[in-house]
Symmetry: C2
Subunit: 425 residues, 2 copies
């Protein structure tokens, strides 16, 4: 049945001659038809906003809304002619010519919660969101990170739920069989396939198979890898990261040590160790000191954070250490109150304690107290964290940290790559 | 002097007509001549291995070594003909034709420690390593992450110090003047420039300016962004992430909460909360439970970790919660002993305590004890962490976590993008 309508991918590679396309067994088919189990789950790190209903289809207003959002935000004209050409008129979500069946039943539902979404083809696709498959021979974090960053360019339509997107990460894909299964599934779902595959055979296979199956695809790291290869005059190894093992480099131990240190120094603990920190963060409760510290620790910085609490003296050592390590954090009082209210609720504070913590008068007073301290210590840069994600504040801290050490006109963060085991593909 | 030899970049954009190329002031020049202050610093998160001397130049053996490393690791032939063509013969590090001066004095030293590296041109370039400039209009984390991942493909030569690489991150680059300064500096240093610039004007400017100045370059996210734009039928906003502000989404609070939770649950604390965790890690000391927990928390998972210590009972609640959340960690005893010895040294343990903690007999006995517990709890998957970076173990845990919840044949981690504020460019 299904198999017969799927074109065979030309045999590009000699390594697994017997493995495809025959491995596409009915077992896989029947299982992948089960729409409930394989798609969107409530994800701990993604907001699903269950209370909001998806709006009705309004494809034609996409560009209008986008223009509006853009002009509101930037107030100026942006031209992306190449893409405009590609994207207008918006491509229909019809399956590619040589590609798999459009039987509604094989397109799994993404509505989650066990609903059977085998309804109208395009309707359900729009309601469900378009699928992006990320395929990696390693951890998949690079694919995830890059796709997240690229999706930042489509927030104007994602936020409105006009073009909902579902991403699906397939990590540790190391053999052709599995790769082929995923590409077939992508064809069935009408997904875009973005991949990072170190093995050039695998990458070439993915490219060709996607072409044959009508799956739009792109190699995430290829342009960078090629640019670096040409720059260094060295061919890439073609070996997935981690395959070589041995992350027990000095850097590895440093990162672990930074995390251990940072956890122990959280929330003003052990002020006697402040001089051992690379970075010291100072601010009132809920200015994001802890998550910021942890984020920086993952990058190898030993971070201590010291809370500012009215009526509690800051530790004496704070004023004795190198003052260039210290960064103040401040925040808009209205936002802080919102955050604190949420926090008090989640901690189940009683009404009395809550008022002291999140009442506007108290919030303002505490921020003024903090600002007074910052004024008395003018060498501490004060970072306004309102509206900033942790990553953004971290970027500012790291930039200033290096600027202060480097003291040069063109601020940059330089690293020497000799041995490293940083982020994995 | 210098300015006159630099070709003017054609004026592509009307926005900053007066700003270039006249802004290349002598002030910048003289400062950038100071080799000490602007380049490689000892980086908290990079191992520099000061004791190893850089080997003499052996360019001609690069490919040999690469082949050797490759065949040792993989035992099979890898063909990358396109790159082979590009990379052989290795390009000379000579400055591009239309490009800036080759005066040795303007190429800053990257040897660090205040050495003046104004020596022989090629010699010093080889000793210093080739420069890769990463330019971002945002945090720069995406550029850093992608370049790290791509450099994983060149470990065979980085490890040998045959092609040392120095990366330089320029984040928050939002105007043309600064962009031009950086590109000029890249030309002077003979650097490769990799960029993520959301504004299409900026991206186009970078591309053209690099062309004119002979700087090899690549747009890191362009292929993904274009593929997504075509897939969604929506043009990218052209607005850097973070410009819109407001990361106070439900997801943001979830991530913060996960980090707070995870820190509080570190090292077996508060066993009464184990049922509130998404993931519970169990293992002996120094199997990486803490950094792994923190890494997973950053991705939004609430993680608790429970140490296995001989003579100390595991908390009763561990056996009462959903057993599918629990993951055991194990490690090779020889590696564990190495790690523990380093740990004991850094903590300044006395010899008696140290022996108990890191003596081989004790290490083996404790791992056997842990394995007995794992055998008694067969629903806990046991992950061998030897030779794995935190990111790799995390990928396995996350994959299994989702597999267990999804129970489908094609394991994948699915997310719905409606509102998000994930990793920043």
């Amino acid at each position: 049945m299904l198999q017969s309508s799927l074109p065979a991918v030309p045999l590009l590679l000699p390594r697994h001659p017997s493995s495809f396309p025959a491995t596409w067994s009915p077992r896989h088919n029947s299982k992948s038809r089960s729409p409930r189990s394989c798609l969107v789950q409530e994800e701990p790190d993604r907001a699903v906003e269950p209370e909001r209903e998806p709006p009705p289809r309004r494809v034609s207003t996409q560009l209008n809304r986008w223009s509006r959002a853009r002009s509101i935000r930037s107030g100026r004209r942006i031209d992306w002619p190449a893409l405009r050409k590609k994207t207008a008129p918006p491509p229909s979500p019809a399956p590619p010519p040589s590609s798999p069946p459009s039987e509604a039943s094989v397109r799994p539902s993404v509505a989650g919660e066990g609903t059977e979404g085998d309804g109208e083809d395009d309707e359900s696709e729009l309601m469900e969101g378009k699928a992006i498959y990320m395929v990696s021979d390693g951890t998949g974090w690079t694919a995830e990170h890059s796709v997240n960053a690229a999706l930042g360019q489509f927030e104007h339509c994602l936020v409105d739920r006009i073009c909902p997107v579902n991403t699906h990460l397939f990590s540790g894909v190391e053999d052709m069989d599995r790769l082929m299964e995923i590409i077939k599934q992508a064809a069935k779902e009408g997904a875009l396939l973005l991949y990072t595959l170190a093995d050039p055979d695998m990458a070439e296979y993915a490219k060709q198979a996607c072409k044959v199956w009508g799956v739009p695809s792109a190699d995430i790291l290829r342009p960078i890898t090629e640019a670096i290869a040409t720059h260094l005059g060295v061919a890439p190894s073609g070996i997935p990261r981690g395959a070589a093992g041995a992350p027990l480099t000095a850097e590895y131990f440093k990162r672990i040590e930074a995390i251990d240190f940072t956890i122990k120094q959280d929330d003003g603990a052990k002020p006697q160790n402040l001089d051992r920190a690379h970075i010291v963060l100072v601010g009132v409760s809920r200015t994001g000191k802890t998550p910021l510290s942890i984020y920086l620790a993952q990058k190898g910085y030993k971070v201590a954070n010291v809370p500012i609490v009215m009526g509690v003296d800051l530790p004496k050592t704070l004023f004795e250490i190198n003052q260039e390590k210290i960064f103040g954090l401040t925040i808009n009082p209205v936002i802080l109150q919102t955050i604190r209210k949420a926090r008090a609720k989640s901690l189940g504070f009683g009404s009395e304690m809550r008022s002291n913590y999140s009442e506007m008068d108290h919030v303002r007073e505490e921020l003024e107290y903090a600002n007074k301290i910052f004024t008395q210590n003018p060498t501490w840069p004060v970072i306004e964290v309102t509206g900033k994600a942790i990553e953004e504040t971290a970027a500012i801290v790291v930039r200033m940290y290096h600027d202060r050490r480097q003291k040069c006109l063109m601020p940059r963060i330089s690293k020497r790559f000799v041995v490293f085991s940083g982020n994995m593909r």
